[in-house]
């Protein structure tokens, strides 16, 4: 059990944080109700309806870009966790990650300049 203590701690903190944040904003936040705000997805999607409905391709763009950049972070976690261990190889691990980030960054500039992040 002791071995899993950290895990239970994280679950606990997550639950407390979640309940606390939503609860607090519900209690002290200002309330200006609108129809859209009561919908399941606030971004304007109608959650009930036919499956063949057409909706904007922009959702896919955003979703795809999100996944793309989100997945990259997954590669960085293990690297960051192991970084101390990797230090015995000198600057090499750092340069490796730097290269990775530079490639990502070029992609980011490309997306940004092409207007991939603009909604309109």
């Amino acid at each position: 059990m002791v071995a899993y203590f950290g895990m239970f701690l994280i679950i606990g903190i997550a639950v407390i944080l979640g309940v606390m944040l939503t609860g607090l904003s519900g209690i002290i936040g200002p309330k200006r109700p609108q129809e859209e705000k009561y919908m399941a997805y606030e971004s304007g999607m109608d959650p009930v309806g036919t499956a063949q409905e057409r909706f904007s391709v922009k959702f896919y763009m955003i979703a795809m870009l999100f996944i793309l950049f989100d997945i990259e972070v997954v590669f960085m976690y293990p690297w960051a966790v192991q970084y101390k261990e990797l230090l015995k190889f000198g600057w090499f691990p750092f340069l490796e990650m730097l290269t990775f980030i530079v490639i990502l960054f070029v992609g980011y500039i490309y997306v940004y300049k092409k207007g991939g992040l603009d909604w309109d």
């Binding site: 000198g90 490796e96 490639i103 070029v106 500039i109 300049k113």
Partner: protein, 488 residues
Amino acid sequence: MNFNPGDIVNFSVMVAPILFLLAVGLMLMLMDVLKAHSSMPLIAGLGLIGAGVLAVLPEKISSMQAFYGMIEVGNIAPLNIVFLCLSGVFTIFFLPDYLKRQDKPIYEVYTLLIFAIIGMIMMANASDLLITFIGLETFSIALYVFAALFKKEETSNEAGLKYFLLGAFASAFLLLGISLLYGLTGYTNLNDIAANASKLTDNPALFFTSIGLFIIGFLFKVSAFPFHNWTPDVYSGTPTPLAGFMATGSKMAAFIALGTVLIKLNFTQYDKLVNVLALAAILSMIYGNVVAVRQKNLKRLLAYSSIAHTGYVLLGLCAGKAGFVAVIFYMFIYTIMNIGAFGLVGIAERTLADTDMDKWKGLGIKAPYFAAAMSLFLFSMAGIPPFAGFMSKYQVFIAAIGSGQILLAVIGILTSVIAAFYYIYLIVIMYFGKNESPEVSPRFDWTTGLGVGLLAVLILLLGIFPSLVLQPLLQYMSGSISAVAAAF
């Protein structure tokens, strides 16, 4: 294995051409958004040539893998890089002019072209089936975008969607084949699989299923019968020079990859596998050539002819190790003449407002250089000496006969008579057809002129001196054949 940064540095040097192309691709992306459009074709072309030079710069090395057995960098691999890069270079000659004529300033093509070639190189030179698959998907995605490049045009949309759906379908078979091979042997590395060949035949049904699915995945990519039916629709919807690239570069990479894997598995000892390939070859040659006879649309005609050419290459592949040089040689020659033919159709397309064959009537007199160049490519595709197309067919037939596939060679020879008919028919139309309505005739600008000139010279040069390509191929190859032999 012990991790060592020195290894990574060494490996990076080994795959320098790929890394270089990656850098060029990223640079092109930046140039695109920074509006430095005009020099993008030049940078892309120089980048590809640079990668080719980097590939052959090191001393010739015998079989050696980078990244712990993932990718082959010795043997024939450097030449594969050169050939694939050249297919890109040839295409670039025709792209700027075509996009300008079509009034579509789409500059992503150059970036995508570079990334597609990276994918092709990875697939062709892979020594691990996972890399094969990743490479295949990398260039396939670029090709899907090529097909759908003109997103406002229905034909282009149709082409893109069809290619994507069917391509995904076929990829699934390929992936299933790879998984089953992994299941049988516990490896995805080709050399490991080859070393554990005994495990493969423990369960013959599963073995044949896995390798069969693997072959099917590639037969789709090279548009062999019966997996050919997307070809005419996709090629006729794809922007013309890119269709030329699709029909050559990707097929060359797929043939090299398929050939490498099959030869490593020593497939000629399984008659059934040879029979499947032989049957696909026969049917592709017959179907492609017969249907092409009645085509009036040039892009569809070239599409069907490309199915037929696939048949000829498969014929060489049936010969196993001995035919592999012929396969690569054939694909390289086909690359030269097909990109040339598609390029010329692309030039004429806008001027004549159509790709209909009848529009080409009388071009022999109105645009003599244009018609002469087209005739040269067509003669070569028909396999008439002294053009290179003859030499490539000759090599393939010799290989097939050498391995005892006499029937295949005979059918190949007979179907190429039919092929001669429709290629010559277009020449007859150009030179002897009466042109009713005088229109503007297609002209070269300096890039297309240079490209066509270069390709035409190559066709003639390699037709007379095929050794210029065959000799290096044999020299580079000689290592790999003995290496394969040693693996068993």
